[in-house]
Symmetry: C2
């Protein structure tokens, strides 16, 4: 019997009415002949409330106790979900992370899954039960409660789908799928029917917040087909899957905008081997994530080095750089926070040329200055002035027909 895993986020199970609506989707899958496993998050603002309760008692609570506190929210949801299904005449059982032996490493608040007791889930499915699993949580080898961090329930769902060899993992959410770009910024964004894990990973890491990167990595590594769809409407959403040949016909699948960026420039660094390494080693020690490193020679003795980072890492990055002033003998450091990155993503770039050219032309036509450029195999990013960023995104989207469904794009291969 084929298995479906359905995941419902906090807004989709926020109250009794929404839990009942979610339960109806579960029952529909049962009626379609599937064994169904549901993974749910904590209801609505429950987790926020628990975090507030904790901070009222201790401004810096230990991650171990924070996990112990927060994992209760998901348990409440699945117990209530089981009651809802029972009331509708369906046999259901709720399970905690511990009860399905969701064993993780010891990293409280950002644990990684090591193993899951699939047999126990199969046992209840084979008894004709719908199995409801509290998302976001696990236990480590010593049976302390761990949590998987932001977006953790997505990862729970995809991991469960992987170990059960589920036909599909449905992610029910408050949007009806993945869009070519953020529809709040570019209102003509088109819904994507199908996207590859690699493209989705790039989009997630570049700020498209529908799914957490880790769950997509999991899906890619364990070959789990993921369907992101609306919890309020009954229509198809976006399938995230392995690359299929027709995906390569689409040069650009999506575009992103990142505004929480900062650029640090170090002017007049001594042009000596090893100096760049000193900078990036100091930044790594300070746990600063960086991108877009640019080094330009001024003359034989001096060079400028700049890089971008997120605004949340800026303070730590500035401190790390400043600490090297004597060692590197640089002249000064400048910081720019008024920048944004516009990126285009598509596995089709691997086999098509001219994407960068088309992107730069689209920006030039709108008189948008490009500060710097970085590229990967399936992504091109341009740093632009923040106040031109939304105009830049729109220009790029129009250039690559991202306001049209994939099958209608003239920029197809």
């Amino acid at each position: 019997m084929a298995i479906i895993v359905q995941k419902f986020g906090g807004t989709s199970v926020a109250n009794a009415e929404k839990i009942r609506a979610a339960a109806k989707k579960t029952i529909k899958a049962v009626k379609n002949g599937y064994q169904v496993v549901v993974v749910a998050s904590a209801r609505g603002k429950q987790t926020d409330q628990l975090v507030a309760d904790a901070l009222e008692i201790n401004p810096d609570p230990s991650p171990r106790e924070m996990d112990q506190l927060l994992h209760t929210g998901e348990i409440q949801t699945v117990a209530l979900y089981a009651m809802a299904l029972d009331e509708m005449g369906y046999d259901a059982i709720s399970m905690t992370g511990y009860q399905i032996k969701m064993v993780t490493d010891n990293n409280h608040s950002k644990a990684r899954i090591k193993s899951i007791d699939a047999d126990r889930i199969h046992k209840y499915l084979n008894q004709g039960k719908i199995v409801l699993i509290a998302g976001f949580q696990g236990i480590n080898d010593e049976e302390h409660v761990t949590t998987l961090g932001r977006g953790g329930s997505d990862t729970t769902a995809v991991a469960i789908a992987a170990v059960l060899h589920a036909e599909i993992c449905e992610i029910y959410t408050d949007v009806d799928g993945i869009y070519t770009t953020d529809p709040r910024i570019f209102k003509d964004a088109a819904k994507i029917n199908q996207i590859s894990y690699d493209e989705m990973l790039e989009m997630a890491s570049l700020g498209a917040g529908v799914m957490h990167s880790r769950s997509i990595e999991f899906g890619k590594n364990y070959n789990v087909k993921i369907h992101v769809r609306s919890s309020s409407e009954d229509k198809e959403g976006t399938i995230i899957t392995h690359e299929v040949p027709q995906m390569e016909d689409i040069v650009v699948s999506g575009a992103t905008i990142q505004k929480d960026l900062a650029k640090i420039g170090i002017i007049g660094v001594d042009h000596k081997p090893g100096n760049a390494a000193k900078i990036f080693s100091a930044l790594a020690t300070a746990k600063v994530v960086i991108s877009d490193i640019i080094q330009t020679e001024i003359n034989n003795e001096k060079a400028n080095i700049s890089f971008t980072t997120s605004t949340s890492d800026l303070k730590a990055a500035k401190k790390a750089v400043d600490s090297l002033k004597d060692a590197l003998n640089f002249e000064k450091v400048f910081v720019r926070e008024d920048i944004a990155a516009i990126s285009v993503i598509g596995v089709g770039m691997r086999t098509h040329y001219g994407v960068a050219d088309k992107m730069f032309n689209a920006l030039a036509k709108e008189k948008i200055n490009i500060d710097s450029i970085s590229t990967s195999e399936i992504c091109i990013s341009c740093i632009v002035d923040e106040d031109q960023a939304e105009k830049a995104l729109a220009a790029v989207c129009r250039a690559f027909d991202l306001d049209k469904p994939a099958e209608k794009r003239i920029t197809k291969g």
Copy 2:
């Protein structure tokens, strides 16, 4: 190193401020040189809220899912309690019922404890940690969550104290100890310094609601000294312990009033061997708890049989009795709900005479009619009219000096 177990009820941990106040009592015990284990209930009205959430979804939720839902409240409290102790500079760790392997039988919502992993608790205590244990909850042999029912956290605390061979189990509550009778009804009631398990069991079963009977039974069976005391004031409460010789000098330790009683009388039952057995067998089948059975012969052929039960069991009792009309050939059934029981309790009764006499005289002096009387080794109960019950309680309390501390009672042996 001696161990103390401290239990805090829901009102004593209702918010951040109260959790901090409770934590200070824990720290005081640590400073006094004890290893400390804390058992806590769900905060304030959290359990009520969860019950309401459940009933909104399913008017008749399964006990298994109800236990899964409700056990989260206690986990939240102990995680927050650990954060509070941490913030005050003390090393603490919270544990769920599962994490200390609190194994129970399968009776969801009223499970009985089978075993506890004391080694795990000792391990953390020996690391210098304060161990916080979520009350009320356990797991059965299949690792499903169970709960111990009303007053369950008291039972958790006493059971933990038993397996750890704790010096004492402190029950912190919103009253400052056990009183000779309910101070809301007889305002001159005196606080009891020391009371035996047997007396406390009688008082609990007769409606004195401070502690649940099961936890007292546990204390008696495993020799756990229990100290019921105030969570808001720092003064001695009531010690519940094994009988000590001086307890026998006090003829009557306390008095109770039970108002939720009903009496059923069966008039004109055929006076044949086995007829009474038929009645009480039918009541047992209907799970009706009864007391004070009285049979009076009318003549050689007919007898009257009456008994008391709680008003909550009345409907089931009446139905069971009515079903026997043909078999027993009785004339009619009457029901009285306007009755109450006044009881006096004291282990001293075992060795002192005249208690019943003094009680009846006290009631007679106030012109209170006694409907029926029942006695046990350490308890005498009189059924009276409900509207005379409070006057009756006061009369009995004064007769046995229950408005004075034990050491000042002239009725001492």
